[in-house]
């Protein structure tokens, strides 16, 4: 026999439980925000002093007071820009094929789907080795901006494909059927209603993937990004360096002055990431307004 508990006791227990869980969740948030805040404050304290226009416009130098990040900043913009140009169209195309055209019952489709999901979890260094073997050596592209962008494209394609598929799936079938029932072909249905409605989701996923690519250093060492260069890239077949590479280079030096400019580099990197994510949010809001 169970003991009978009064309604009020049960209510009190429930409310107490509610409070306890609320506290647990609150503290998890506070812990993660604190860690982030400490990091950011530390970086700002060390780096703000060295951060000025000269720092952005100068070449790297072995003398920290004269060193700047221009080649790395431009290299990052070149590589990420090219990566976007390659990976977004390929990713959207793949997603359209898989979601609209492919026979979903075929073993090929199933195998492909599982593989794409798995590829998203492969460590980035593996893509670096792949890029070195295929792009740099086999295709003889060399350690250039193009090889770097191709490697990063491979790295983020799974993420772009998966988020694009989800965005396309979210378009109501009643809308697609409405278009097809008007005698509009499959392709024009895709360009007419499916893509416009899926754009916010696709762009958000793509830009978040790109901002992840921006921070990658490990695979880029493999495909030949240089730690220290004093020239600017001006074609996709040039050699290059990247912000994370330069920051890594600086942090590995013993002098305190280099640690300070590394922190300044990190601030620039964070601003760049913030700007990209802001773009994602703006694009999403704009396209969403158009759709609703």
């Amino acid at each position: 026999m169970k003991k009978k508990i009064s309604y009020h006791t049960r209510l009190k227990r429930r409310l107490l439980l509610n409070q306890i869980f609320k506290f647990i969740f609150m503290s998890t948030i506070i812990v993660s925000i604190m860690v982030l805040a400490i990091l950011v404050i530390d970086v700002l304290q060390k780096g703000l002093g060295s951060l000025d226009l000269d720092f952005i416009l100068n070449m790297p130098s072995s003398r920290p007071e004269r060193a700047g990040i221009l080649p790395a900043l431009l290299g990052t913009l070149w590589v990420i820009g090219l990566t976007a140009l390659i990976s977004i169209p390929v990713g959207i195309g793949t997603a359209i094929y898989l979601q609209v055209y492919a026979d979903k019952k075929s073993w090929f489709f199933k195998a492909l789907n599982i593989n794409i999901a798995n590829l998203a979890g492969v460590p980035s260094i593996v893509y670096g080795i792949l890029g070195l073997t295929v792009f740099v050596q086999l295709l003889k592209i060399g350690p250039t901006v193009l090889a770097g962008a191709l490697t990063l494209s491979l790295l983020i394609l799974p993420v772009i494909i998966v988020s694009s598929i989800e965005a396309i799936k979210a378009v109501p079938s009643s809308i697609t059927e409405g278009s097809l029932a008007l005698g509009v072909s499959r392709w024009r249905t895709i360009t007419g209603v499916v893509l416009p409605m899926a754009t916010p989701g696709i762009m958000t996923g793509s830009i978040l993937a790109l901002s992840r690519a921006m921070g990658e250093a490990a695979p880029m060492i493999m495909v030949g990004a240089v730690g220290f260069v004093t020239f600017l890239p001006d074609s996709i077949m040039d050699r290059y360096t990247l912000l994370p590479m330069l920051i890594y280079n600086w942090t590995s030096r013993p002098q305190d002055a280099f640690a300070q400019i590394a922190a300044a580099g990190i601030i620039v990197m964070l601003i760049l990431l913030l700007l990209t994510n802001l773009t994602a949010i703006i694009i999403r809001n704009k396209t969403q307004n158009r759709v609703d």
């Binding site: 059927e177 029932a181 008007l182 005698g183």
Partner: protein, 251 residues
């Protein structure tokens, strides 16, 4: 009286399940044909086979013959894009595109590319007028279609279909999501539309079928139990099951 669509021995399968059994009937030009019957009796499947919308469903197979003028609809080589331009469809739930009212109406013609640009404006107006929506929206043609009420959205969907100049209109319970006033408006509209178009309408409401249609077909468990003039079918049904259904003994 001209036959517009001739259905002969139509059998329809979803995988192993047979949804339509040996249906034969004729759809007459410029008449409204209503299809009635309880849920799951196959009436929606039937109209989906007329514009080949079942192509989108995995494992759906239609056997037999549906001829439409000179075309065999069920033929694999029939151009469904061309077919669906000539046989338009209005769905159960209004499904306007997330675009402006103008863009909704001109959606089809802009993508078919067979109407010159200078005629678009006239087509927009005439389509909205035919769907008796023009006076309600003429001052806000560039607003989103979602700003309209449910009944207006459904008439917009009708206007959108009319703009592609179809010969036949398939309507799958077009008023089931609407209130009585919006329903009455659409029923009035159908009366006008049949002068120019051949209409096939699936409806849950027997009163609606009796009010608006010239011919009625009664479906039950995938079979066409009875088909004939609406007046005759409702006053002197030949089959016991039809009589039971229309007198409300089941369904």
């Amino acid at each position: 009286m001209q036959t517009k669509i001739r259905v002969e021995n139509l059998n329809f399968y979803y995988g192993n399940f047979q949804a339509l059994k040996n249906i034969s009937m004729e759809i007459y030009e410029n008449k409204i044909t209503a299809l009635i019957g309880p849920s799951g009796c196959g009436k929606s499947t039937f109209i989906k086979s007329i514009n080949r919308m079942y192509d989108l469903i995995d494992g759906a197979v239609a056997k037999g013959s549906i001829s439409f003028d000179e075309i065999e609809i069920l033929d694999k080589n029939t151009d469904v894009v061309e077919l669906r331009k000539r046989i338009g469809m209005v769905f159960q739930k209004p499904n306007p595109f997330p675009k402006s009212i103008t863009e909704n109406v001109l959606y089809g013609v802009k993508r078919h590319g067979d109407v010159p640009k200078i005629e678009w404006l006239a087509l927009l107006e005439s389509s909205l007028k035919k769907a008796s929506l023009f006076s309600e929206v003429e001052h806000k043609l560039n607003q989103s279609a979602f700003s309209l009420s449910g009944g207006q959205q459904q008439r917009l969907c009708i206007a959108r279909t009319l703009a592609t100049k179809p010969e036949v209109l398939l309507m799958d319970e077009p008023t089931s999501a609407l209130d009585p006033i919006a329903t009455a408006k659409i029923e009035e509209l159908l009366e006008e539309l049949k002068k120019e178009y051949t209409v096939i309408i699936v409806t849950h409401s027997m009163q609606q079928a009796a009010r608006i249609s010239d011919y009625t077909g009664f479906f039950l468990n995938g079979e066409l139990i009875e088909f004939g003039l609406t007046k005759t079918l409702f006053s002197t049904p030949k089959d016991k099951r039809t009589e039971d259904y229309i007198t409300g003994r089941f369904g």
